[in-house]
Subunit: 561 residues, 2 copies
């Protein structure tokens, strides 16, 4: 049996484009003599469709797409993902399903049993879990078809009370096939192969595992679809962060002939454990790829081409500008320099040098005149009160208004440059430097931003060295340094990591060696600034716990605050 | 048996304050000869605790609070809500539980079975559903204790496959007791009494139903705790939107002696159905109360006292200013008038008159000078391009920066004035009029804002009549009217209502009589502006479907867009 895997990038709700893409892959597989082609989870509508699932119209469009794909599934079997309706009146009205289409008929439907409902996932919001399990038969073979999370409930502390494969194995399947939408994070490198391996060894069956790729607002799916034989040998590993097709011959004697050489995969990790300590150098190359895909897909799927970045001469905006130029082409990226009376001369020259290195257009608009005019207008109300955070934030908001004026005038999207350390501690100005359409670095702590800057410079100096070497500063008053308000980042970032990624409380963090007063102060800053993050743009997610939809914390509360 | 109900307002994560409040009620009930006192769902930690539940430290603090309350529960039985740990390794690690405390011991724990995971609710994110059901015995009586959603699964299309009361009834309970955290919305008036009635009639048992009150960021809980006998007679109905204690005597012969006269409740509604058509006059008085509580609790629980409102002379800011003055006292509310060259003279005089009527301080800062300075600074880059949305938004952002400067300087919180019609269609400026800490009117369509304005003026003219009568305008260019860009609100609002509250698709809305092209255009506006709403502040929720945490729509997508 010639099995194809289609690792594709879908557009949520764009049934027409998704269906066309699916049918194109089916036609290609047919031409190449494919018997069966496997797509990823909810491929027809894109994943995650979120509250679009509450619209009957949306479900109907999905079913209509299945109907169309069914007609292409004549001489080839197709496994494709789409919501289906629950015929029973009890329980939620939908299932998250995989359809087996063949001979232009729906030959079978299976439903997802384990509905992830943590971090960025909300599946129990929409779907009823499966409570019956059936093998699908195809050309005399017995397929145990599962969907993503269904195979992840192994290990010492299972999140669910059942394993659907424990039910399916009783029906003597010949192979496991999993349709996934499994997102990237920098801990995920080995976890996915590890869980596939655990399954093939536990059930003594080979597995065909098809993942999606592409970025969906904040969630980046990285692909890496695979075929593993029942011994745990990885027969096919598809590329990461890009669309691809692959095929493998599954012989009658249950052996495989793949286009790639068989190789043993050493990993046996369970669900990517979040490392116990913070390592800012971990998987920088993958994060780089994920962010590029995140930018490209945000623009491509929103129908945008041009980006604008407020370029300060600091490390964050430099990294964002470099990433934007790489993702979109320097001809589509404008930098706007907005120096004030508090900007150092090297800030301007560094920002200029950066744009010359990158080859992008830049404009310079000094903000001092506008700032003075604001001061004059406010003088009767401020009546001699000293310069403080109000004036600091005002400069940042003037920059925000200026760069948004260009954004509106020229139809370019403002890329935000806030990093995770700033967002965590509230070291940023709402409607000022916190403005933007997409948070490029919002899931990277400052030390990870530095690591990424060095990675960007790995073969030549793209980001001027002085930008990497100088002490970070917001430059909103004379001689300001981040370290006036915050501890050094090599102290701050590990505390934030323990609190945010690892959900450690003050006692545990202090027990790891952090200063008690500082730890308390930092956790309080994090919790007290939830209101700011709540108004922040989507952040490209690269860690196992990003700010945004995957972290839901009360704004009004009093806990560690 | 003398049963007390404690309808209290908790502060999420503030274990010290919540525990003190709970113990104070216990002491009061003991003094009055109480046998049993019932609190609401998750009373110890406040509801909803959201991702705080992922912190072991948070769970430990809850258990420590239970330990403290246990010591007060000596001669009185106490039913109180708190998370508990799941001892089994399979399944999630927590239950949403009710503890029966008596004789300074934990006499029993029951767990919630039905975990709401729709709209604003995320309980399956944290909790394992109960899968065993046990009666609690207390002073010889058999108590069927359930938690909120557990009693809501009746009706024609049940969301869950089981009803926990169907299990408990087999154990011959004498009474049902439900601990709730059931939020307000304007359709909820009869739904809650209806569901209690359905339960008492179905199971032929009386019910003690204790709800919480108070606003938690965006969610307003309205109380209305009650006792209903097995015939469906409402014996006690506690007040709405305020803390209260009540008690009732449950006699040995199963009759009740209440402090309030028994009265038959006519309602038999199931879960508050969302009305089929939009009625902007529906339940304005309750929405008024909900918003006042929403403002008061936001300020009280965040530790703020002072508010600031950008007062334009339009209807939205007038209503917000009036509500703020009523909630916080006019002495704590500042208005800032920010006229431009496009402001009409009546806008300024109306705004001044409004503040004189309300008795709040106001300042006036014309923005034209700053706007001209921005234009000059931008001129080299804009190089003669015509005035367009960039300059319109710029004025709005100058106002945003100005009012935030006062907010920062004087520590006052900016109340946002955007209404639901604007937010739906994207008729607002990010970082401009969309700025603010709390969205006061974000869940009211424009027609509901007018209804609320008339309600505020019900006994005297607080909001100047001209503000209510004139055509709405953003005044960002000469002679601008909302109706230049949007249909009239009596056409727009019903379409939005069908799409947002009732999740009707284009076909259904057109079938109701809306113009096809207009309907398509409006739905596209709603979906294309998700990115703006994503950066909006929390909105006080008064409808069954508010923008914010209860509505989760992809930003990058292509559905009806």
């Amino acid at each position: 049996m010639n099995i194809f895997l289609a690792q594709q990038n879908y557009h949520i709700g764009n049934f027409e484009a998704n269906t066309a893409k699916i049918i194109a892959a089916i036609e290609e597989a047919k031409q190449q003599g494919g018997d069966l082609i496997v797509f990823s989870e909810l491929s027809v509508c894109g994943y995650p469709p979120r509250d679009f699932l509450e619209f009957n119209d949306f479900i109907e469009q999905g079913l209509a797409a299945i109907d169309k794909i069914r007609q292409a599934a004549d001489t080839i079997g197709v496994l494709v993902g789409c919501p289906s309706r629950n015929a029973k009146i009890e329980g939620k009205d939908l299932f998250n399903s995989a359809y087996l289409l063949y001979e232009q008929e729906i030959k079978g439907i299976v439903h997802k049993s384990l509905l992830p409902n943590y971090d960025i996932f909300d599946e129990y919001r929409y779907f009823e879990p499966a409570y019956e399990w059936n093998i699908l038969t195809f050309k005399g073979k017995r397929l145990a078809v599962t969907i993503c999370e269904d195979i992840w409930n192994l290990g010492d502390d299972p999140l669910y009370r059942i394993c659907p494969m424990d039910e399916l194995i009783k029906q003597q399947p010949d192979i496991m096939i999993n349709l996934s939408a499994s997102p990237f994070d920098y801990t995920h490198e080995d976890g996915r192969k590890g869980i596939v391996k655990q399954n093939v060894l536990k059930y003594n069956l080979p597995m065909v595992y098809c993942n999606t790729i592409g970025s969906q607002t904040e969630i980046v799916f990285d692909g890496g679809s695979m075929v593993m034989d029942k011994n745990g040998d990885l027969l096919t590993e598809m590329p990461y962060f890009t669309e691809a097709m692959a095929s493998i011959i599954w012989n009658e004697d249950e052996t495989f002939d793949g286009s790639q050489p068989a190789r043993r995969d050493g990993s046996n990790a369970y669900i990517s454990a979040i490392p116990a300590t913070f390592d800012p150098e971990k998987n920088t190359a993958q994060m780089h790829q994920a962010i590029l895909l995140g930018i490209r897909d945000y623009f491509g799927k929103m129908g945008f081409t041009k980006a604008i970045v407020a370029s300060s001469g600091g490390i964050d905006s430099a990294v964002v500008l470099a990433l934007a130029c790489e993702a979109l082409g320097p001809e589509n990226v404008n930098a706007l320099l907005l120096p004030s009376q508090f900007s150092t001369s090297h800030s301007v020259t560094d920002a200029e040098q950066l744009s010359r290195n990158l080859g992008n257009h830049f404009d310079t608009i000094p903000i001092e005149g506008v700032f003075r005019q604001f001061e004059d207008a406010l003088a009767p109300v401020f009546s001699g009160l000293p310069f403080n955070v109000a004036e600091e934030n005002l400069q940042s908001r003037i920059r925000g208004a200026m760069v948004m004026a260009l954004s509106n005038k020229f139809g370019s999207i403002l890329l935000n440059t806030s990093n995770k350390s700033e967002l965590a501690t509230g070291y940023g100005t709402l409607y000022g430097d916190m403005a933007g359409g997409l948070g490029v670095l919002g899931d990277l702590y400052k030390m990870q931003v530095y690591a990424l800057a060095r990675y960007i410079n790995r073969s030549q100096e793209i980001i001027p060295r002085n930008i990497i070497d100088k002490a970070p500063s917001a430059e909103l008053r004379h001689d300001q340094k981040d370290s006036d308000s915050l501890p050094e980042y090599d102290v701050l970032d590990p505390i934030l990591y323990q609190y945010i990624e690892r959900r450690q409380g003050p006692k545990e963090i202090i027990a790891l060696g952090s200063d008690p007063a500082l730890t308390t102060r930092i956790l309080r800053l994090v919790n007290n600034n939830e209101y700011k993050r709540n108004q922040f743009c989507p952040i490209i997610r690269v860690s196992p716990k990003a700010f945004g939809i995957g972290r839901r914390v009360p704004i009004v509360g009093k806990y560690l605050s």
